[in-house]
């Protein structure tokens, strides 16, 4: 994580200051999303425990817990994905790429940039296609829960999921640019 922040901050040319500022704002966005996801984990633990307590004291399940719990899982992943990309925690094998990058730094940088580009494209498509799902949720007033007992609309979850995937896609694009800049530096 730190290593890549340096890469961005250490851009040698003119608009460095402005870019560092932009980079800082962007980091704030990514970490803000991750923090929101982090809070959700605590909330998840609390609502599940509240359900256990309610059932053992009042005898009945709390409404919405299982449905909201399920949606929170999706939301959690979407919100924290960008931070995961940023800290390079996505699982991958290193059998080839590590020695290859050491031996051929420029080709390695291009390969890594290509991976990031694919990541940006794939997650970007997910975010873009989720717009349609959001529209359908809104059009049919999609909800979780049971009519007559308790219900909750799904669109706020959907909107956040969409934003999470979008931020992760942009983060991949940022990584890609950083890799290509590395490439430029090796060349000169």
């Amino acid at each position: 994580m730190a290593g890549n922040d340096q890469t961005i901050g250490a851009a040698p040319d003119g608009p460095r200051l402005r870019e560092a500022g932009l980079a800082r704002v962007w980091r704030w966005v990514v970490e803000g999303f991750a923090a929101a996801g982090t809070v959700l984990i605590g909330i998840l633990m609390l609502i599940v425990c509240a359900d256990i307590v309610a059932r053992n004291s009042a005898g009945a399940s709390l409404p919405l817990v299982s449905e909201a719990g399920a949606l929170l899982v999706v939301l959690l992943v979407a919100l924290q994905l960008a931070a995961n990309v940023r800290s390079r925690r996505l699982a991958r094998t290193e059998i080839f790429i590590l020695p290859f990058t050491q031996r051929f730094p420029r080709a390695g940088a291009i390969l890594n940039a290509a991976f990031d580009l694919v990541g940006a494209a794939v997650l970007g498509i997910v975010a873009w296609a989720t717009i349609r799902i959001l529209e359908k949720d809104l059009a049919s007033s999609e909800f979780i829960g049971i009519v007559g007992m308790a219900t909750m609309p799904t669109w706020p979850f959907r909107l956040l999921i969409l934003m999470g995937f979008a931020v992760a896609a942009i983060e991949f694009a940022v990584r890609c640019i950083a890799e290509l800049r590395n490439f430029g530096r090796v060349r000169t």
């Binding site: 449905e67 049971i146 007992m149």
Partner: protein
């Protein structure tokens, strides 16, 4: 002979009777009809049992063309298929699956709002499905519905409504959790279908079956993606329509015999255990008593839909009227 590739899928495995019937009745009948002329042959790519999508995406998967043909589970599409929820929000209107499905078939043919609700999702309905009948599977026996007060009863989310007013506490659950929930005391019993209870061996932990034969419920449809449908030759379309009708009728008949079979099977399998499995036939009028305890579930369901301009009340009336015309005697006239 022209070969047509079609993917057929479901969220549930083929051991579920109405999913198995897609293979054994709908597909087989279609093949049989097409073989008569020999002009077309369908190469089925089967993806049953959640290989392509889960229970939470049965509608959108057919709609988006993830599969060509699939079973749409309307229980879990409360928002997108609101009118389809009528039967579970007007419980005990009928305990006769053939009459229920015949009614639903008439509605999809004649009730424009209902047909639109389905076909606006880029699909064509071919066959219809329903549940068998609901009974209570309990740890301790009951003599009537009053005895349920204070007990914790597992039920799938949607059916929690059926326990309102009975004094029983609804515990959210699913087929996969019932056995353990009852065994460990998370709940004291389950509101379940005989067809669901038998394979999970629920009778081992909940040997007292309080038999209500509580209402059959419309559960969904076998449907084909509209684009896939439009691309089919007329002969194939005609074969599928006929096979779909055959599927619906066979499935409805099967539900009746299978409910009885499943109950008897559980008594047979559980004869040796202690206490032995026992069916407690509820006295005459007990279902009516249960139904009278319920609040106006149908009204609670219809009101927010009416507010959105969906003709829920008219549809409910149409549904109930058609049932009564078939000689069914609803335990409560939810439309009146």
């Amino acid at each position: 002979q022209e070969t047509i590739n079609l993917t057929v899928a479901s969220s549930h495995p083929t051991v579920v009777p109405w999913v198995g019937f897609i293979q054994s009745h709908f597909m087989a009948k279609t093949d049989e009809l097409l073989a008569k002329t020999g002009n077309y042959k369908i190469e089925w790519n089967e993806a049953f049992g959640g290989q392509l999508y889960k229970a939470n995406a049965t509608l959108s998967s057919v709609e988006e063309g993830v599969t060509d043909i699939g079973w749409v589970f309307s229980f879990l599409e409360q928002a997108k298929l609101p009118l389809s929820q009528a039967s579970s929000n007007a419980p005990f209107a009928t305990s006769n699956p053939p009459a229920l499905l015949e009614t639903m078939q008439e509605l999809i043919d004649n009730n424009e709002a209902f047909r639109n609700e389905w076909e606006s999702h880029n699909l064509k309905v071919l066959g219809l499905t329903a549940t068998d009948l609901y009974d209570f599977y309990l740890k301790e026996p009951i003599a009537g519905i009053d005895d349920l007060a204070g007990r914790k009863i597992s039920a799938p989310g949607v059916l929690g409504n059926w326990l309102r007013g009975t004094g029983a506490n609804a515990v959210d659950g699913a087929l996969t959790t019932y056995y353990t929930d009852v065994q460990t005391g998370v709940s004291d019993g389950v509101l379940s279908l005989a067809l669901g209870a038998l394979p999970i061996k629920l009778y081992e932990v909940a040997p007292y079956i309080a038999r209500f034969d509580g209402g059959a419920v419309f559960s969904g449809a076998v449907a084909i993606n509209r684009d896939s449908w439009d691309a089919l030759p007329e002969e194939v379309q005609a074969a599928m329509v006929e096979a779909g009708k055959y599927y619906t009728v066979s499935h409805a008949q099967d539900l009746v015999s299978r409910h009885e079979f499943a109950l008897n099977k559980m008594v047979e399998l559980g004869a040796g255990q202690n206490p032995a499995v026992q069916i407690i036939q509820m006295p005459e009028g007990e279902t009516a008593k249960w139904v009278s305890k319920l609040p106006d579930i149908a009204g609670d369901w219809a009101a927010p839909l009416e507010a959105r301009g969906i003709p829920a009340k008219a549809f409910l009336a149409d549904y109930m009227t058609r049932l009564r015309e078939k000689g069914e005697k609803p335990a409560r006239n939810w439309d009146q």
